[in-house]
Symmetry: C2
Subunit: 158 residues, 2 copies
């Protein structure tokens, strides 16, 4: 048995709606997790705050309550879809945990690595879509500098 | 045998004079490399270009030839020390390669991942010291965005 398999590590994977995070998860399953290991894989999905939606409206007016409500509903569905897709990929693993966070992904992911005692954080290099990335900055850069564990950034080959 | 051990991956570790890169290497040996695996570990040390030294002189004057020569000598010795230290850590591995590059670490490391067919790049989060980092920008951020393989950024716990 390798050193690692004996370690029972906690591997945190940040998933989002992008294909890149699903690729990152697959890469992690193939390259980091050992067969019959006691590692725990934690899937983390972060719902961005409403402020990010509001910024879509460039005119300075806020969206109506109706629009916000339907955006929230869409957000819920999106979270469910992403988590289902990610869970399916992990169906060979014994120890899978699901966590859903709320807020700025940069802060939530870094806080979660600490709170959940992650031994490694795995994420896509882009993450959170072009528009949100422009608004929030690079999530992966921020986490690489601020998370208190090693960070594996996986880019989908082009 | 796990999927990974069968993969014969090429793992590129960027090492430098900082303690963090040695910590990154240790982490990688413990968490990524399997016992009896056919993985190849490639240690890469990049000698920064003279331009980085010249910038130390804030007055606009260049250093004298003597000073540059002794800096070059120091640079050679530093490279040898770092590589020896890194090699010692890997003495249980069968397949270890040593590469020394010259130039801006950001460019050289990214080029090398491609040239050497690396499956993953491992590096410390700081790298290349405070002064050089200020001059060159964050090497790890740049590589995470530009290397054509997954990048594992390891920070030494504080």
């Amino acid at each position: 048995m390798s050193q690692v398999a004996a370690n029972e590590r906690r591997i945190l994977v940040a998933v989002d709606e992008g294909e890149e995070s699903i690729y990152a998860l697959s890469w992690c399953l193939k390259n980091l997790i050992f067969e019959n290991s006691k590692d725990t894989l934690i899937l983390l999905y972060v719902k961005p705050p409403r402020a990010v939606y509001s910024a879509f409206d460039g005119t300075g007016y806020l969206f109506s309550t109706d629009v916000l409500a339907s955006m929230d509903k869409y957000k819920e569905q999106m979270a469910d879809t992403v988590i289902e897709k990610a869970k399916k990929l992990c169906n060979n693993l014994q120890n899978v945990e699901i966590k859903v966070g709320h807020g700025d992904p940069r802060d939530v992911i870094c806080e979660m690595t600490q709170k959940l005692g992650a031994d490694i954080l795995v994420m896509g290099s882009h993450g959170y879509g072009l528009i949100k990335r422009a608004l929030l900055g690079s999530v992966s850069n921020h986490c690489a500098q601020n998370a208190n564990c090693p960070v594996l950034i996986v880019k989908k080959p082009t």
